[in-house]
Subunit: 224 residues, 2 copies
Amino acid sequence: MRLAELSERSGVSTATIKYYLREGLLPPGERITATQSEYGEDHLRRLRLVRALIQVGRVPVATAREVLGAVDDTALDMDERLGIAVGSLPHQTPEDPDDPNVSAARETVEGLLGELGWPSDRSYPAGESLVTAVATLRRLDYPCDVASLLPYGRLAAELAVSDLDMIAAIGTPVTQLEAAVALTVLYEPVLLSLRRMAHAEESRRRYSTTGDGDPDVPAEPADG
Amino acid sequence: MRLAELSERSGVSTATIKYYLREGLLPPGERITATQSEYGEDHLRRLRLVRALIQVGRVPVATAREVLGAVDDTALDMDERLGIAVGSLPHQTPEDPDDPNVSAARETVEGLLGELGWPSDRSYPAGESLVTAVATLRRLDYPCDVASLLPYGRLAAELAVSDLDMIAAIGTPVTQLEAAVALTVLYEPVLLSLRRMAHAEESRRRYSTTGDGDPDVPAEPADG
DNA sequence: CCCGCTCGGAGAGTGTCACTATCCAAGCAT
DNA sequence: ATGCTTGGATAGTGACACTCTCCGAGCGGG
């Protein structure tokens, strides 16, 4: 198909597609004549993935290029490509390592890994983001010790089982890599939305928000 | 304290603090003379919260103003303030409601709420974000039916219990509101980081990424 | 062959956002 | 008194994700 059709089928303007082509987010089409190119179903799929990463996953364009570059890099084996791809996904901006909150946060994270039985010698690309988040919580005097974080870690471990099951159920190895990236990124808003909805629901359950009850005196939680 | 000291103690430049004051993210200090103002510990705490929301929580400045405005609005009761505050937190940009993927996603979400026992007559502010995310997954032909989402919903419900326990443990009602906002936002990166780390860990456990074993044949997990 | 059209490519421009730099007048400190 | 700091206002910056405009090359009907 021509660029115009690719645009129509994807709902992305031709100008934006050209921009993605320029930025290397989308491989160039097959040149039909000196001035025209042909795009296939693969391009359409990739374009939709790019859109999803950028719009829903809020992945910056430059990052998306890195991630997709790793996915496509046939010189590496699957494990490496997956590692590079998900490792390139957006992270928290790291903080001043001299801040005592940061080093305390780092220790907390170490301790958490220990409790979870995850090897702390292994460097997790997401680990720094976690350190930043914990340091921020600490700075605000909110609970963020190992005991507070542990339930989140355990739930994350359960999530990972669901996630990898889902990815394993995807067809070919090539699309499995794409699936790993897509599901890592696209289930994040799912998870966060569900958490917020669950907050509302749990809050309603505890405090009967819907009209009765005294909001100034939070009721004793029904069950600790 | 003066603006300069507020800056020093928070690590935020005076220019940025002035910007926040202008934008209404920070209440003005108490005017000491015609040209000088005094800031207290509350300002410092609020400033740190603002920084955390913006930098770690990636909340846009305008949104942070809305959220904090609701937190501070003493004309409303706690429930309303909390609802408005967390409801104002960033959401996915909504999509074309005519897209069949979106309506299908909406049905999936309805079904999910049913399975979870959450009242679907209640409008969850995060619901639209969830619809957008599910529609995107659907567009890419990735699994996003009720059965796939259910485990995430159940885990979110568990998270909510932890979260509300934590918030309930915070002192006064006023700071409890701030805490609700802060913990909602700041535990999001914690959760996402942990999920990514858990992916790495579960993947290692399944496929023995670290050199030995055949990646095509998942190894039996050593220990659940 | 001609002529209007579309196509793909490239560079510059746009709008938004979160600051940040510059000015300025009014004090406070010495 | 005077130099320096303070707080307020205005304009500028850099990053980002597009989006606009232009261009020459073709393709297709007459």
